[in-house]
């Protein structure tokens, strides 16, 4: 350790490890993981989301799961909630679509209109 800057570099790298436990959250992504969701491929969708977050080193993003919400034909269903903005629900989210949603909505705040099934 030669300087405060050296310490800051380690801190920046390490912060991703503890932030999840500190309640820091800018965007929440909820993936439907009911039996219907899993059957429709939600596991692969979730994996793609995780991968994209990792590749882009996104911070303060929380990924959680939910059960069936009664729209089984639209699974896999993914909600994106940016702090202070309405919840956007996307349907039939394939891994590819999931990557687009991250790039456009999560990172840049641009809702991907043609995948949306509800807004509230």
């Amino acid at each position: 350790m030669k300087s405060l800057d050296d310490l800051k570099k380690i801190k920046e790298r390490a912060q991703a490890m503890t932030e999840l436990r500190e309640g820091k959250e800018d965007v929440r992504i909820v993936v439907g993981m009911g039996t219907c969701g899993i059957a429709a491929g939600a596991r692969d969708t979730l994996a793609a989301i995780m991968d994209e977050i990792n590749a882009r080193s996104l911070r303060h993003v929380v990924v959680t799961q939910a059960g069936c919400i009664g729209m089984c034909e639209s699974e896999p269903i993914v909600d994106v909630i940016r702090q202070g903005e309405p919840k956007v629900t996307y349907g039939r989210v394939t891994p590819d679509k999931a990557r687009q949603i991250i790039a456009s909505h999560v990172v840049n705040g641009q809702v991907v209109g043609n995948f949306v099934i509800s807004l509230k």
Binding site: M1, L4, K11, R21, R28
Partner: protein, 550 residues
């Protein structure tokens, strides 16, 4: 750094380890791998989460869901339901709240706002075996700031202004202690962290070291810089296996990152730390006996003065501080003295860590602002007295602390109020006793402890503790007279005045408070009455032998 959508924290404090948390963690790890979730879910063994008799405790983030008494079956259910399907298992959830758990949608009740975590800010939240997680939470930033921007005198000034006082029992002002040693000229000085923690019922230092070892290391280095010491010792109870393992690992990690060793932060300041294991004698927690023990001699107290601050280890100026005192140093340096004075009372600033034990519903590790009342601790955090019984007494500060009665429930817990009630905040044990216990029995047990732990070097303590045991065993057998009780108080007073160390000197604290606050019950024993029905004519002392032969 890999992103995980979920973190599963399994308590790894000693009480939870005893409850089987290690096996639970291994099982959760195995199931997570089996479900193919090991790149999504991170399993972490963390420090004590607080409610020690609810273990094993598991917390799942980002939800902050707390599960308690998790066994193998529960572990399987949590993985299958919560981690795979995102459905928290309500049935297994802990109804209480944990001060370390905060989530984005925090709706905590006021009860838990009374806990304030400074010393324990990372305990139960980080992986104590990861220096990176400590650094992520601003670890070593106080040290870096001190070494690059502050002079040693500035560090001492900040500690002085913070009003921090020793948390090991004697409550000596910590800034003044640093100043004495800083001012003493010497080619070599030492910093000693007192982690002997011999006070029965106290295990806070153990859980601080287990849960956040780097905070203690960082505090010691800052203190070394302040007084000009380059070497530190951590004197730790030998049976604190997990603490020893974690602190030794933390020292290796700090050396590896250049946070211990030569030329720290390019400042030219060097510091290193060594761990010394104690063999479990209560008196070795006394600072000069501790120093003798490190020097390889028999652990008996030295005559004072000189005090360690001017002549301590190997005759060199030495600062000895308690684990909790040291753990307060990094936050004080980082946030400033005014910030620290914002907690607690004006004369007793900051927080105090307690181990809440005995007859309360929620036992465990707590940190509260100074000045909180006993009632808030017992009925708020502690959840009251179990089994429909009522409060009888609280002993604050361990065996050497005072015994308080119902009249003291609304007294603020700070140094001054405690002293005015004849007690002391002490080291941090808070023993709650309900009305099924007899005060004479409590006194006997305390006195037996002192007699057992007296090192035998000075006569007042060696003989005094033995005689006190005899008198109180007699009282328990309804054979004592008022003259015996008067003699007991006289003995305790002589011990206060003439014992070589605070072991003998402090027997008067529990004894005096018992005699004063529970006078009626003591008197009844002179007349063959024990209101609880515990004492009777025959001898039932711990050793099981007639009192005269003790």
């Amino acid at each position: 750094m890999e992103f995980y959508r979920s973190h599963v924290l399994v308590c790894g404090g000693s009480p939870c380890v005893a409850a089987g948390c290690r096996a639970v963690r291994v099982e959760i790890e195995r199931l997570v791998r089996e479900q193919g979730l090991d790149r999504e879910v991170r399993v972490v063994e963390t420090g004590c989460l607080g409610p020690c008799d609810q273990g094993p405790i598991v917390v799942v983030y980002p939800e902050g869901t707390v599960y308690h008494r998790v066994n193998m079956g529960a572990a399987r259910e949590i993985v299958a339901e919560h981690l795979v399907k995102g459905r928290p298992v309500t049935r297994l959830q802990y109804a209480g709240e944990l001060p370390s758990v905060s989530t984005a949608d925090d709706k905590r009740t006021d009860y838990f706002q009374i806990q304030k975590r400074i010393v324990l800010e990372n305990v139960g939240l980080i992986d104590p075996e990861s220096i990176e997680e400590y650094i992520a939470r601003d670890g070593y930033l106080a040290l870096g700031t001190a070494l690059t921007n502050l002079r040693p005198a500035d560090v001492i000034e900040t500690v002085k202004r913070s009003g921090l006082r020793g948390r090991g029992g004697a409550a000596f002002p910590s800034g003044a202690k640093l100043e004495f040693t800083a001012r003493t000229e010497s080619d070599q000085k030492y910093i000693i962290c007192n982690a002997d923690e011999g006070e029965p019922g106290t295990f806070k230092d153990r859980l601080i070291l287990e849960g956040d070892p780097h905070k203690v290391i960082e505090g010691m280095i800052i203190m070394g810089y302040a007084v000009g010491a380059t070497h530190g010792y951590i004197y730790i109870r030998g049976e604190y296996y997990i603490s020893i393992e974690r602190i030794e690992r933390a020292i290796r990690q700090a050396r590896w990152l250049g946070l211990l060793g030569a030329n720290l932060f390019g400042s030219g300041f060097n510091f290193d730390i060594e761990v010394k294991k104690g063999a479990g004698a209560y008196v070795c927690g006394e600072e000069t006996a501790l120093i003798e023990s490190i020097e390889g001699k028999r652990g008996i107290p030295r005559r004072k003065p000189p005090y360690p601050g001017t002549s301590g280890l190997w005759g060199k100026p030495t600062v000895v501080n308690n684990v909790e005192t040291i753990a307060n140093i990094p936050p004080i340096i980082l946030n400033g003295a005014d910030w620290y004075r914002g907690f607690g009372t004006s004369t007793s600033p900051g927080t105090k860590v307690f181990t809440l034990t005995g007859n309360v519903n929620n036992r465990g590790l707590i940190e509260v602002p100074m000045g909180i009342t006993l009632r808030e601790v017992i009925y708020g955090i502690g959840g009251g007295i179990p089994d429909g019984r009522s409060f009888k007494m609280a002993q604050t500060g361990g065996t050497a602390g005072g015994c308080l009665a119902e009249a003291h429930l609304d007294m603020p817990m700070d140094y001054e109020s405690m002293q005015s009630a004849g007690s002391a905040l002490g080291s941090g044990a808070l023993l709650i006793i309900d009305d099924s216990h007899c005060i004479v029995d409590v006194a006997c047990s305390l006195l037996h402890f002192f007699a057992h732990e007296s090192c035998g070097q000075c006569t007042p303590c060696r003989e005094g503790t033995t005689r006190l045991v005899q008198i109180f065993d007699k009282l328990r057998q309804f054979r004592a007279t008022q003259a015996d009780l008067d003699l007991a108080m006289e003995l305790a007073t002589v011990m206060l005045r003439s014992s070589l160390c605070a072991l003998g000197q402090s027997v008067v604290v529990p004894l005096g408070t018992i005699m004063q606050h529970f006078e009626g019950e003591i008197q009844a024993h002179l007349h063959g009455k024990c209101s609880v029905g515990l004492c009777h004519g025959a001898c039932d002392c711990a050793e099981g032998r007639p009192a005269e032969n003790v």
